[in-house]
Symmetry: C2
Subunit: 246 residues, 2 copies
């Protein structure tokens, strides 16, 4: 499986190439291709900016023309800020991320094409791509090159990433409490509240108990937290006597 | 409907505050709150960096402590790079974007909390939030402050954005061809191919025609493109005589 290549057409500043390389590395992209970079290559400023992603900058390949840079790819998506005159499918980054993922699962090679910092891609460059990716933005739209690489890289990574959308993060020592641990905690809390006269009048007791249980269920307690809460109850019950009487 | 506030806790460099403001503006966020910025405020470097998003920087509010900055919010999501010791729900940016969107549709005020450039949020700061947002990345993870604001802002914008995942973009003058226009084009092409002896032998004619139709259907032609292709066929048919005989 190949992650997509990133092709920068006529990039100007080494700093931006270095920043693009770092953005790529966050999302597991490594194949960087430069088409006619304006300044010398290798480039010191790119190297300085790439800290941590130096391997990507060092292995970047330089091409004289865009056709050669794209030649081995099966799919090419061109990133543009606004609609162009040409009739092309326009994808959101998230739809493109899905397609890139599906293609690379089939062993097809993909590339994402970015224009230069000043003027983006020209119509001729776009005409060599299958489709266009445009990032939906508010009226104000000013993404720099590395930010564009970051967002598209993020979406291509997200499409194949198994991270659960919502998960409860606790260290390796804690685990979600069992029902039995929770039930004993509920019993403890409720018996102390009866003794303290809080669950009164008696007809209000069942709904109050259900509300308290709901609140603690929502918190998705760990075993350690159940123990802590039982300590909290015990401390509150005898707390009035401290330090004077204990 | 309130778009979420962005709260920067103890930010250090004005440049990063300005860059965060620009990232915000791309995605329609405008409520910027600064908690104890290290350098003076207002800050020249923030202003210089914010080009285009100056209004956000100028209206940014400064707070002495994090509690005051969060006080009016119903929901707070803290962004952190890696898991912490505390048991909290951890959301992907996309899940958080959905929740922020749902909450703001209900008129609830939301905030996204970012730590400082050097060390991120400390455990005490995280303890004031409902949940944590972590950007899934490859092993290498180095998002700067403005990039983190950009990605979370992108996801909060994306959740409410109606842009079609894939659309065919053509100018206002073109439109998708009608079936009748396509059928006349198919007829034109097929009759010229019969005359040219291309659809031969006869038993191959139906599958070849179907394949050609499929190819042109997949291209989702506009009315203008159908006219262009009919011109192409006509030119090819008589082209052999040009320029010598015409």
């Amino acid at each position: 499986m190949h992650p997509p290549a990133v092709i920068l057409s006529r990039p100007q500043l080494g700093e931006n190439i270095g920043a693009a390389a770092r953005a790529m590395k966050n999302f597991g992209l490594s194949d960087l291709r430069l088409v006619s970079p304006r300044d010398d290559w290798p480039n010191e400023k790119a190297t300085a900016m790439a800290t941590g992603a130096l391997d990507i900058v060092e292995r970047a390949r330089v091409f004289d023309d865009l056709r050669s840079a794209l030649a081995d790819l099966n799919w090419v998506y061109a990133t543009t800020g606004r609609a162009r005159g040409v009739t092309k499918p326009v994808l959101t980054p998230s739809a493109a991320g899905e397609r890139l993922r599906q293609a690379s699962l089939l062993g097809e090679k993909c590339g994402i094409l970015f224009g230069n910092e000043r003027s983006g891609l020209d119509n001729d460059e776009v005409s060599l791509a299958d489709a266009v990716i445009t990032v939906p933005t508010a009226e104000f739209s000013s993404l720099n090159l590395a930010q564009a690489v970051l967002l598209i890289g993020y979406e291509s990574f997200r499409a194949g990433n198994p991270t659960r959308p919502v998960r409860l993060d606790h260290g390796p020592l804690a685990r979600k409490a069992t029902r039995q641990e929770l039930f004993l905690f509920f019993d403890h809390l409720e018996s102390e509240l009866v003794r303290a006269g809080f669950l009164y009048p008696p007809d209000m007791k069942p709904p109050m108990i259900r509300n308290l249980r709901a609140l603690f269920n929502r918190a998705e307690l760990t075993d350690q937290e159940v123990r802590t809460l039982r300590g909290v109850i015990a401390a509150l019950v005898k707390g009035k006597r401290w330090p004077a009487e204990d």
